[in-house]
């Protein structure tokens, strides 16, 4: 966390922060930690399915239900079941065999009105190493990516920490409930060339320059010493060529 704070400090200095996370909600076994005021307004639910098999042939089962909320602000809310005893054993076996833990969601649009016009076809799948999931004690981060029009185009899952070190896990305590952070990410708008601020800055600098009294001096005021020096030099050289009488005059 400290790292992130340092980073954000640096980035704010550099003034080009690209926010990746639009909105995220913490979910934990059905209990929602975010604001719970408008959950029931216009949501719909899609299944989140997972698969972990010792023979590595995907057989997807229901893991939980994703409650998606349309509209401008894409909210998401996940209620999921506990892992059964059998599942826990399977998961540990899969982890031991370095198998994959897969998840999938159907391809849907977050826009509720578009739901009806096109039925979902196919799924979006992704995976994480089962051992990483076990070793992270089922704490995973699931991100749903949408395109500009709100269709879900991809899902990603990572566990924190993400490594497999072969640590032994006490199944009863740690492999019961998922500790999931789920979020929906919409594409960020890439910046266009920033001409207006640049011109503004240029103008400000011009103004500053204009106000500076040193810059505003007239030609003679600025270079009087050069002109005087030049004149003296000219006079001196011309007088040197002049007859001796002239020299006495000066």
């Amino acid at each position: 966390m400290a790292m992130r704070r340092v980073l954000s400090l640096i980035l704010s200095v550099l003034s080009t922060v690209t926010l990746l996370w639009t909105q995220s909600g913490e979910c934990n076994n059905g209990r929602r930690s975010g604001d719970a005021g408008d959950t029931d307004l216009s949501g719909f639910s899609v299944p989140l399915e997972h698969s972990f098999e010792v023979d590595d042939v995907p057989r997807f089962r229901l893991r939980g239900a994703l409650q998606l909320k349309g509209g401008k602000e894409n909210g998401v809310y996940l209620s999921q079941n506990q892992l059964s005893e059998k599942d826990r054993i399977t998961l540990k076996d899969v982890a031991a065999a370095d198998g994959l833990y897969r998840v999938r969601v159907p391809r849907v649009s977050l826009q509720v009105d578009r739901q009806t016009e096109r039925p979902s076809e196919g799924y979006l799948t992704t995976f994480v190493r089962a051992c990483a999931l076990v070793e992270s004690h089922l704490s995973d981060v699931i991100t749903l990516h949408t395109d500009v029009s709100g269709y879900i185009i991809g899902i990603s899952i990572v566990t924190i920490p993400g490594s497999c070190r072969g640590i032994e896990v006490e199944d009863e305590v740690d492999l019961e409930v998922f500790n999931t952070t789920i979020s929906v990410v919409a594409p960020v708008t890439a910046p266009a060339p920033e001409t207006a601020p640049f011109i503004e800055r240029m103008e400000q600098e011009m103004e500053k320059k204009g106000k500076n009294p040193q810059e505003q001096k007239s030609f003679f005021a600025k270079y009087w010493y050069l002109i005087l020096g030049g004149a003296v030099f000219l006079m001196a050289t011309s007088s040197a060529q002049a007859p001796p009488g002239g020299a006495q005059q000066s």
């Binding site: 080009t16 990746l20 991809g154 990603s156 910046p191």
Partner: protein
Amino acid sequence: MAWLVVRLAISVSLFYTASAVFEDQVGKFDWRQQFIGKVRFALFDTHSQASKKLLVATDKNVFASLNSRTGDLFWRHVDKTGPEGHIDALLMYGQDAVVVAGNGRLLRSWETTVGGLKWETVLDTGSFQAAALVGVQDFVKYVAVLKKSAISLHDLSSGSQIWVENLPDSDTVQYQTIYSGGNGLVFVFGVVPNSHIVIVEYKIEDGEIMNKKSVEAAWMSSLESSCTVISSGILLCVDQITQSLYTLLLQSAEQTEMRQIHLQTLDLEVASGFQPVLTSTQPNPAQPPLSEFFLQLSPDHHILLQLKDGLIVPLRDFNPSYLAAFATSGERTVAAVMSPKNDTACSINLFSADTGRRHLDTTIIYHMDPNGGKPNRLYVHAFLKKDDSVGYRVMVQTEDLTLTFLQQPGRVVWMREEALADVVTMEMIDLPFTGTQAELEGEFGKKADGLLPMVLKRLSSQFILLQAWLAHLWKLFYDARKPRSSVKNEVNIDTLSRDEFNLQKMMVMVTASGKLFGIDSKSGTILWKQYLENIEPNSVFKLIVQRTTAHFPHPPQCTLLIKNKDTGLGNLYVFNPIFGKKSQISVPALPRPVLQTLLLPVIDQDYAKVLLLIDDQYKVTTFPSTKNILQQLQDTASSIFFYLVDSSQGKLSGFRLRKDLSTELIWEVVIPTEVQKIVAVKGKRANEHVHSQGRVMGDRSVLYKYLNPNLLAVITESTDTHHERSFVGIFLIDGVTGRIVHEAVQRKAKGPVHFVHSENWVVYVYWNSKFRRNEFSVLELFEGAELYNSTVFSSLDRPHPPQVLQQSYIFPAPISTLEATLTEKGITSRHLLVGLPSGNILSLPKMFLDPRRPEVVSEQSREENLIPYAPEMPIRDEWFINYNQTVSRVRGIHTAPSGLESTCLVVAYGLDIYQTRVFPSKQFDVLKDDYDYVLISSVLFGLFFATMISKRLAEVKLLNRAWR
């Protein structure tokens, strides 16, 4: 003050980045070759005897003049690409060349000596059919252009339109050809397929229709390919089905039916399935054509016939013969015929057209390139010798687009490889070591066999090296005595060897016609060429370097994935890139279309990298597939991932290899095609090195780069093309896990998008449809101030998303292509090479494309050497790396590292090929060309001697003092 700082920073940055070629460096390490493309029309200037001009018009919409003595270009005009600039016809009379371009849109007259445009006329719309010069009373004055529904006559000297007439019944009659015999009339021939021919006679003066008649011809489908006009106005047609010739007197009122002459009566027969071709000649457009003509009966059978008193008489039968052509010099018309001599050579002979008699001593032997294609066009330049006999030279064009110019008795005057006008892909391969170097290298590779033999071996190889060095010194001494001009560094395939800094490489170029070239990068000499037959032209080729030169004694090995013309399936062509020889290695058959290729770092005993080919059933074929390889693949299968892109469904999918070499789908990302379509996907280059893991910032902390080797940059374009709603999408997707690392949308933007993906950044160029300008945008990815795992990068274990910075800039020029420089170790700063449509190549420092360029200058940003943000990208003339050597229609830029860290080799290809070197951070590891060796060595020696003398003096002084 701040402004001063800004300016200072800019000037400092420019000081670092300014790089241009000095005048005396021109041509020292760069070269350009200009090409024209496949010749469609070629005309020799027969206006004067001494003329060397050869006018050509090509399928690349190029109109050029070649020097027929050397093959060099006198001048070249490159028109627009596509149908807009398509050259429909080329006619020549005297000093003028008349060109119809753009499907009959423009009529142009060129002055042929310097290539200046004399006049240009915009013609009425309508698809072009034919054009002909029209003469009156032995003088060619007009040019007639036939369109689908109109005919127009133009003055040859000014281009002004004399008259234009609509053709009668043009909705039913297909007007196709035009003829004028100098008698004040223009004939237009039209056909109603399988019904009748329509002949319309126009008066030249005012375009009045003098006569119009239709003649029954139920057998005819097209005029163009089967009819010609011979003698004084006789239309001659040939038909394959009825096996007959048909003649029709154009100006007789009574003949209403074509006269049929069975080929059988002449003892001739057209080969089945072959469309016979008639070739006649009209030496002077103001006079009727000759009564002799060629009839081609099969691909290798021509016959010279003559029409005499209404009878067709065979003059000479050429069987076998590949090509035949007429040529005229002065009053004499000759025919040149190419016939096979043996398997590797053809002989070309000259025959007088009116008798069919062979001219003595006129044989030209044309040796066919065993690695080339068959000849398919013959252009003849005939001239009168001093003794009034006819001499000739020929230009032969082959299937593989080689132009060969020959003169008697078979000397090749010049050769042009026009296939190089369309390079599809290329690679640069290190040259092998010389024999002695290889000897030394080989010593280390072999297994030890005792101490004494090793010592002896070492001594012997040292001796060989000494010998080679002495020989080299002797050669230097010997060459120094010769005048400089005669010392020519002939590049020869046998003497090829790597130079000190590995600056000279072999450029392996794959062209659209299916011809491969090996070109020496230093001189541009073609060292080998290989024409691959049975290749679908303009299909996608994939060139893969499986083994580099580094594994002596194993030869380097390249593999080209090609598409067969007949089966449409993939095929592997394995060859040695240095010598161009096809390798004897057996290649796996590919029974299904290949979707993806993957070069793995897994190597077999022969040090060849393994190539995985994934077909449309997601089955994997390995090449080579030895037991060792399969074993290695099984062991590492779980860490081999690949991705497939299906842009028609917007689907990106990832697969993992299983132990039994089958595959399993592990991730899927689907971008709905209703909104946007995937236009390009690019990973990073495999041979790219990144030297520094992070960037040191103003406060001495480090910002670590997100260096994911598996990252894919996916560019999409919106299907909505309205300028307010169109957008370009940028997705950065991890190729292993399918995780979308970053997703951005550039609003109000349109393609074509060019982009470069390298290190931790993506640079892309798009068209801003709102402001109507080109814009650059740069994305950089950073891990942050701490690395998650500094030892190794794994896509499976990087939970934190990277920080993405982005900035955009205005680029004040359109762009053709984009590439980044590449150096050996990645220490040198990067430049972007931007190919502009003007033909220039701009070397743009990456420094200017840095999303951390600050809006407001601060102490820290100055410390970091960041240039303050300016929305417009500068273009400086000294950044053009190819000064005035512009590359027409640049389509691609290839960069390759050299042995010197400072130097990157660059090849830009399009219609032309340009090779040069760039030094993005200047030549920091090389002494300058004008380094003063004399001064430094004289100072050294001077000091040395001064020390010696002073030492001696000091000794003497000491001695003297001791005596005292």
